[in-house]
Amino acid sequence: MKFTLSWLKDHLETNADVQTIAAKLTAIGLEVESVEDRGAALREFTVAHVVSAEKHPNADKLKLCMVDTGSDIVQVVCGAPNARTGMKAVFAKPGVTMPGTTDVLKVGTIRGVESRGMLCSEKELQISDEHDGIIELAPGAEIGALAADALGLNDPVIDVSITPNRGDATSVYGIARDLAAAGLGSLKNGSVEQIKGQFPSPRAVALKFADGEVKACTMFSGRYIRGVKNRPSPQWVQDRLRAVGLRPISALVDVTNLISLDRGRPLHVFDADKLTGNICARMARVGEELLALDGKTYTLDSTMCVIADEKAVQGIAGIMGGELSSCADETVNVFVESAMFDAKSIAATGRKLGIISDARYRFERGVDPAFVVSGVELATKLILEFCGGEPSDVVVTGELPAPNKTIAFTPAAVKRLAGLEVDRPEIVRILESLGFTVEGGEPMQVTAPSWRHDVDGPADLVEEVVRIHGLEHVPSLPMTRTHAIARPTLTPGQKRARIARRTLASRGFNETINFSFISRAHAALFGGGDDMRQVANPIASDLDAMRPSVLPSLLAAAARNQARGVSEAMLFEMGATFQSGMPGDQALCASAIRMGAAARHWSKAEHGADAFDAKGDMLAVLETAMGAPMTAPIRAEAPSWYHPGRSGTLALGTKVLGQFGELHPAVLAAFDLKGPVCGFEVFMDAIPEPKSKGKARAVFAPSAFQPVERDFAFLLDRDVSAEDVLKAARSVDRTLIDAISVFDLYEGKGVPEGKKSLAIAVRLQPKDKTLTDAEIDTIAAKIVGAVAKATGGTLRS
């Protein structure tokens, strides 16, 4: 919402300067976006009188002007076709810096004739793109005065952003009222004079809403004015409209814009001769069309309220008028329309049609229902003043809404909600100056004015009091501590997520955060991409599916890095994955990938990212998250996005905790990613919560006896899993066998085709005596026997 300082002063008697006003506006909740002093760049330009303008002796298209600057008569060469004797123009003397440039005007010689200054166009002053000729000022402009004054530019423009609840502040008058309440001056009388009709209106108005239809228009008023002469608005009107970014069109149109800005009251003026019969507000019929004032044709439906005559739709109610019934230069008879439309209906229609207009902006925020007829009267006054004519009686149908409800309010409420002490007289003063009615004793009975539909309870009144009294007066009050020493606040799940993150970072992974939506094609590769997880209105076509896994996000990220020449990457993300489109049907997933080989180094052989990297990463996350070693077995199976022979799953019963492996080459190809890439997914919510065993650790009882380690190399069929060998060996003596490790795996020369050699080291830890050789041999034999029985493996000689 833009307005100028002088416009504000039409309604506000104040001595405050523009900076003070701007600061106060922000302080009371009308946030100032900018204060533009358009005159500042024009301080050196003055009004001059062209005493004579004759042809340049040496050029056909140039003129030689003698210019009275108020202190001097100077000779200026000018190329403008409109330069003529007797005109008032904007003059720049040598030494002046041209706006928007660093060019300093010099005394010049043009085609052999000296030129001591310049007569300026609008473009040269950077006030418009107009460059067809020089500016022609009003004949009464005072010679030597500031051009900015003569141009109506010496009037700062203030731009405030209005929150959606403050329909009343979408007008200069409403803003003046707030400022007056905040102590920045006094509000001038804004009452609107009634103009007596000279004849009955030849057009009737009606509200035509069927039972069951939304009553999108509750009051409709208008007036016929005959014999007007449309013409350009007076200069002050044009200046104001231009200053706030509107283009003056004609007096009849400008009047509606002026009142919309001045009073927040949108109006429409029809060319009455282009209307057929009476006028009504009704819902559109499906398929009705309107060529609107923006030159576009809109197809309407039955949810949209329109203004129609007896033949056709003539305007989209509260949003935009129709081109075919609009006023033009030759317009003689007009009908002024002022109506009360439903805010929600206007908002929905505006959104559907994609029209943004000043009228919609105001109706959506709520206009003052009590000002419907006043709007007609004010428009009448200005039309008669600018265009002449003869007004009919005012016609009106519908009714005012019920007055706002009365709110019981005590000064204590201000203290209770705002922690601020404001005495009763000040509260009453603030509310009354904002137009509220305050009656009664304790509690006081407060009624909001018709223009404050946003106020419906004591909290709203507290807000009014606090914002006008000044938020800066709210004291800073320490909150009580809930505990002398703060207690931990994170849930076990939050702690697990935090430690898992930092575990991965400590293993060398870079944490990423990727969008929760990915492309449908990528989602489909990971078990998603279905309709229920589709975003209905994606911001981009490749961000249209809620991700079923974090891996596709990481692979896409890896591909982007690879495209930049990065060959190795370790990326992880802790984020949501989505099982459906239902709220809550999501899981927190820790997922990471390793792309490419580990860094090349002089000391070691290169090794590509493989399933064992991923397995180690997955186990690290699970174990730190659980705070305990992970003993559940790995199953050699995993979803389709993994390499079928190089991936695995870790589950507790049917609950999958994690899966890992090398990514399927076909999946990598879909991401344009050169492999190998391995990765894992850990389902954080599936991790069991640690059993609470108290803080004390179990008794520390190290054995006093030497452990014994024995190595075994088994010859096994190639497809026997290491897990089976370890399980068989472990089962021999669960108390004595302390640890088993796999230290060698060999296939090739010396091992028969289809076989492999797997070497394990078994550590025996006696608890109560030293083992004899015979005892050790017995256990060793049992291990060999158990492995043989479980796997068919034999001890390699």
Binding site: A27, L420, A459, S476, L490, A557, P583
Partner: protein
Amino acid sequence: MSDVHSLERDLLAAIANAGDEAALEEVRVSALGKKGSISELLKTLGGMNAEDRKQKGPLINGLRDKVSGAIAARKSELALAALNARLQAERVDVTLPARPEPRGSIHPVSQVLDEITAIFADLGFAVAEGPDVEFDDYNFTKLNIPPDHPARQMHDTFYLAPQADDSQHLLRTHTSPVQVRTMLKQKPPIRVIAPGRTYRVDSDATHTPMFHQLEALVIDEQTNLGHLKWVVEEFCKAFFEIDTVELRARPSFFPFTEPSVEWDMRCDRSGGQTIFGTGHDWLELGGSGMVNPHVLEMCGIDPSRYQGFAFGFGLDRMAMLKYGAPDLRPFFESDIRWLRHFGFAALDIPTLDGGLSR
């Protein structure tokens, strides 16, 4: 006895001259071996009379001890020399680079969230969470934004495909539905922060379709705007790690709070980088207010008894401000160079005692 003395002289010289362990062993065998010169001399003691033995015994035994001692000493000397020689041979180029360790990092949003969690934990705020896909009711209606409310347009909502019953779920446009969920399930007093991903149909230099918000909610019987002001002040001091802050409160409008207040913090942007706490500029922190009585009521809390505040800000924005990241978009682009540049070490865990940042 001169032969004992000359033998001693010869043997000690031979020991000293032995250049390696083999040569030394040769000397030992020649002196102390079965047929060695000293062994032979010792054998002669048996054939001597008591007088001679008494006289020569100490001499010969002394010779033996001296020579064995010299051999042992020479032996360790040689061993040391051999070790030194081996170590010299084992010399490596220590300027070669060490084995590479990939350097992982924590994303600035995670780090800043840990910082903020630590601050609020000290004030007794728990961390509340909720789903990214939300019911329209929780995201809007229960927050006093009924259908067709103009405030819905400020939100640019992402919707999911319609359900069988034609209802449409959405991606939460703010973390406020977590407040709704908290109030619906927890009786006051309530002190929570709700961080999380939020989504709006918006994309330019300062907006991404997904971003992070953090909201704080307090509901009890006495908390008012003054407490809100104090919490915002204390939070800013702790988070930006400065001793004083100056806040500016501006009245604003949010459907879910009444009164509503936006907070700005004094800062100085005159020199390219933002300096907090002094200067002539104002930094927008976020919106807040007293929870609207309608919201309390819709969430099953009696507004005549309970009241409290809510405030929210952009988590990404906080990270950008504190750590000088100029653009939002790279936060979600996973450029490894950016992640390393703006990331944090795994063990840099923010604490109140150790400071939130280095």
